[in-house]
Every structure is written in structure tokens, then in C-alpha cells.
């Protein structure tokens, strides 16, 4: 009892004061700026935050920033949509049908342990070096968490709710649509969020393997031209994009699963 009573106000406090999450990054940035200005670290290796902001401002002014952001976002959107769609189909099928799970899951689990970069040569051979191979790589990253979370979410739906569906004579498809998928929604949202996170990791891998535009290209270009401000700016832009898209997905998930009787 004590543990739960202590826990609930903590969660509530964090929710009511979102600025708490900004304290640590703000402190790090301030310390970083101070260290740079004091000349404790050579700025050629670690430029100060103001240098980076200036560089980003310059990229924005020339239009390059929007160009690279758009290129990465479009790749990410396609990869996420395709990976999530495939993960949803496969997860729903294997979650709802033990036979399908027995046939499909061992293979998928085997493929899951292949490191992402190992797919790169194959995708380039199959799909060429342009967009298709990059999108395929992102989709692979998104697929597995979506698949796994939806499958386990459905397989763990309370038998008692399934019986309610049975006494109301739901057919197989109706059972999936009206009972299993809604009940598995919290787990599915978790899968989508993990998939999105992996998608952002894979988009970097995809763009590092050769791209003419995008944040990954910016990273590589910064390294090759000896401009750490650009490298760090690209890293921070990845962080911002990843966080913003995750916030959007989390907000959507919270709306869709508001029926849950949980303290969070």
C-alpha cells in the first residue's frame, strides 16, 4: 500500500510539470557552453552550443536544413508505414491463430536476430542504391517490434473477454476486430513506439550507406569536411525529430487507450 501511495503522486507530479524533463538538458548545455568559452576543450573538436545553433540557423537560411529534413522524414514515413503495416498483419495473424504462430513465428524470430546492417548488401542488390533499399531497411527495423508486441498482446488477451465474444457468436474476423485488437491496443502502441525508435536508428544506417540528401548525409558530409558543428547539429536534429515523432505517437496512443484503468 505504502509503495503504491508513494508511486502515484510521483507519476502525477511528473505529468503536471513537463518542464522537469528540460532541467537536465538545459544544465548540460549551459555547462558545455561554459567549458567551450573558457577554452577548456578545443572548439575544433567540440564546438559550443551557440556555434551549433548558428550553423543550424545558417542551414535553415539557405534552405538546406528543410531539404535534408524532408528527405529523411519522407524515407522514415514510408519505411514506418510499410514496416508497421506488415508487422500489424503478421502480428494479428500469429496472435489470433496458434497454428499460424507455430508456422510463422520461429522463422520471424530467427530473422529478428540478423543485425540490421547485414541486410544492406542484399537490399542494394535487390532494390538498387536509391530510395527503395533505404525504405526497405527502415521497414525491417519497424516490423519486428510491431509484430512482436501485437502478437504477444493478442495472445495474452484475457480468456474471459474472448468467452464474452464467443457467447455473442462472434466469428473469427469479428473476434479479432472487436475483441482481440482493441484489447491488445496498449501493447500494440508500445510496439509502434519501439518500431518508430528503431526506424530512426535504421534511417541513419540507411543514409550512411550512401545518400545524396538527408540528415544521415549531413552527418557523413560533416565528418568528411571536418565540420564537427554539422555532425553535432545532425545528431541533435535526429534527437529532436525522434522525440517529436515519439511524442506525437505517444499522445495518439494515450487517446486511444484512455480506457485503461491504470495510474499512468
Amino acid at each position: 500500500m505504502t509503495a503504491l501511495a508513494d508511486f502515484v503522486p510521483l507519476r502525477t507530479a511528473a505529468r503536471q510539470k513537463p518542464w522537469l524533463g528540460l532541467v537536465l538538458p538545459a544544465a548540460v548545455v549551459a555547462a558545455w557552453e561554459a567549458v567551450g568559452r573558457a577554452g577548456l576543450v578545443p572548439v575544433e573538436l567540440l564546438p559550443t552550443p551557440t556555434d551549433i545553433v548558428t550553423a543550424v540557423g545558417h542551414l535553415a537560411a539557405t534552405g538546406d536544413l528543410w531539404h535534408h529534413l524532408a528527405a529523411t522524414s519522407v524515407r522514415m514515413a514510408w519505411g514506418f508505414l510499410l514496416g508497421a503495416a506488415a508487422g500489424t498483419l503478421a502480428g494479428a495473424l500469429t496472435g489470433a491463430s496458434p497454428t499460424a504462430r507455430a508456422v510463422v513465428d520461429p522463422t520471424v524470430q530467427g530473422l529478428r536476430s540478423v543485425p540490421s546492417i547485414a541486410w544492406v548488401p542484399l537490399f542494394i542488390l535487390w532494390l538498387g542504391i536509391f530510395e527503395a533499399s533505404k525504405i526497405a531497411l527502415i521497414a525491417v527495423g519497424v516490423f519486428f517490434p510491431v509484430y512482436l508486441n501485437l502478437m504477444t498482446g493478442i495472445a495474452q488477451v484475457d480468456r474471459k473477454l474472448i468467452e464474452v465474444g464467443r457467447v455473442h457468436r462472434l466469428g473469427r474476423i469479428e473476434m479479432v476486430w472487436r475483441v482481440l485488437l482493441p484489447a491488445a491496443l496498449p501493447s500494440y502502441v508500445t510496439g509502434l513506439r519501439s518500431g518508430l525508435g528503431l526506424g530512426w536508428m535504421f534511417v541513419v544506417a540507411a543514409e550512411l550507406m550512401g545518400a545524396g540528401e538527408g540528415l544521415g548525409y549531413l552527418l557523413l558530409d560533416g565528418q568528411q569536411t571536418g565540420r564537427p558543428t554539422i555532425v553535432i547539429a545532425a545528431i541533435l536534429l535526429f534527437a529532436v525529430m525522434g522525440k517529436l515523432t515519439d511524442l506525437a505517437l505517444a499522445a495518439l496512443g494515450d487517446r486511444l487507450t484512455a480506457w485503461q484503468d491504470t495510474v499512468g
Binding site: R166, V167, R169, P182, A183, Q260, D261
Partner: protein
Amino acid sequence: MALLEIGGLVKSFDRVRPVLGPLDIVLEEGRLAAVVGRSGCGKSTLLRCLAGLEKPSAGTIRLAGAPVRPEDVAVVFQEPRLMPWLTVAQNIGFGLRHLPARERAAAVGEALEVVGLTEAARLLPKALSGGMAQRVALARALAVRPRLLLLDEPFSALDPLTRTAMQAHLLTLWQHYGPTVVLVSHDMEEALALADRIVVLDGPPGRVVGEFSPGMPHPRHRSGPHFQRWRDRLIGALEQRPRLIDEVRDAV
């Protein structure tokens, strides 16, 4: 007229030792019957066979002379088992998907009114008390207008005051919708307060060891001498089961 006819019903899960039967029970249309017995005597298994959730190992279950059609039966379980993502009104309409929207809304509205939850129509299950949630479950079952309503210890998880209120609700609903009801309970007083036919099971394997028809009008006052006499008789029945059937025959 006999509505429900159970003949030679046997259920075994391991094909070695049955948990139920053979059972023969005939129930007339419109009756509210209670099946009582100790925990583990097979009464819930009987109900699950009637609901189509378990396949009988042997025997027949017929409703109005024909095999049971799933659309004729509705079930209320021990827990409300509401879909947590649906509102109260959507939960009540869960089994009405084949109806046109207008008829569905009318049926849901009627059920909400009968269980006194019109104000709660848009609430989610997480906002309901245990008693309210079970009223929604009752309304969901009755909204499909089943010929046979099966209740599996529906009030056993509720506090005594709520339980008594829910029993009164059940009587109102029974009178309003008029289904034949089979109530499984381990609570003798509940059976006596509600049922006009009481089947006593003992087991395993679950067998009928007594059948009573307490001819008391509703509402039944638990403190009345008639009620007390019937209660003592029921409890005695389970304590001395070998002599029971003869005793009951004498009594009837």
C-alpha cells in the same frame, strides 16, 4: 411447456473421470431456476455446457425441442467482463450488431432504463462500481432478448447489501424481459430468495441430489418462518445427501 431439456448429460475433461453427470433436468418456460451445490460440484461446468462454451462428452441439451441455437442463450458471468474500451451503452449493444442502428439504439436505451443506468450510458467501465458493472453485464445479456438466460454466480463478488439490491434488480429484469433463467449459485439464501425451482447438485461428478419448488410469492422475506424452513431443508439436503431424494419426494 418444457423449454430446456437436459438428457443424460456427461462432461469429462480427461476422458477418465467425469466432472458432471449423467444429468437429467427438465425446465419449464419462463421459470427462474437455481442450481445450487458446493464449490467443485460441477454446477459451473453445467452452465458452460448450456452456454456452448464446453462441449458435452455425452447426452443432449435441447431448447424447445431442438438443439440449442447460440442466439437463444445469453450468459452473465461471476465478473462483469465488460469490454473496457467500450462505454456502458456500447457494452450493452455488444451483442446487437446485427440490428439496424435505430433498433439497436432503442434496445440499448430500454435496457439502460430497466437497469437504471441511463445517466451512466457514456461512462467507461473503469468509472463503474462493482454493482453498476454487473448491472451493465445483466443489461448486455438481456438486450439480446434471449430465451434462456444463464447466470454463473453473478453476485458472489459483491458486498452483501449490493448483492441483495442486485437480486431485486434481477427479479425486475426477469419480469420485464421474461426469459427462462438458470442461476448457478452456492448461496442457498440467494437461491431461495429468487428461484421458483431449485436443483441441488453434488459431486464430483455432479449429480442431481434434490429438486425443490419453494412456492413462495415475491418478494420473499428472509426472516419469515417459511423462508427459514426452506433454508434449513436445503442445507440439510446437502448435509445428508444419501437420504435426500426420498426425503424430497416425501416433502413434495
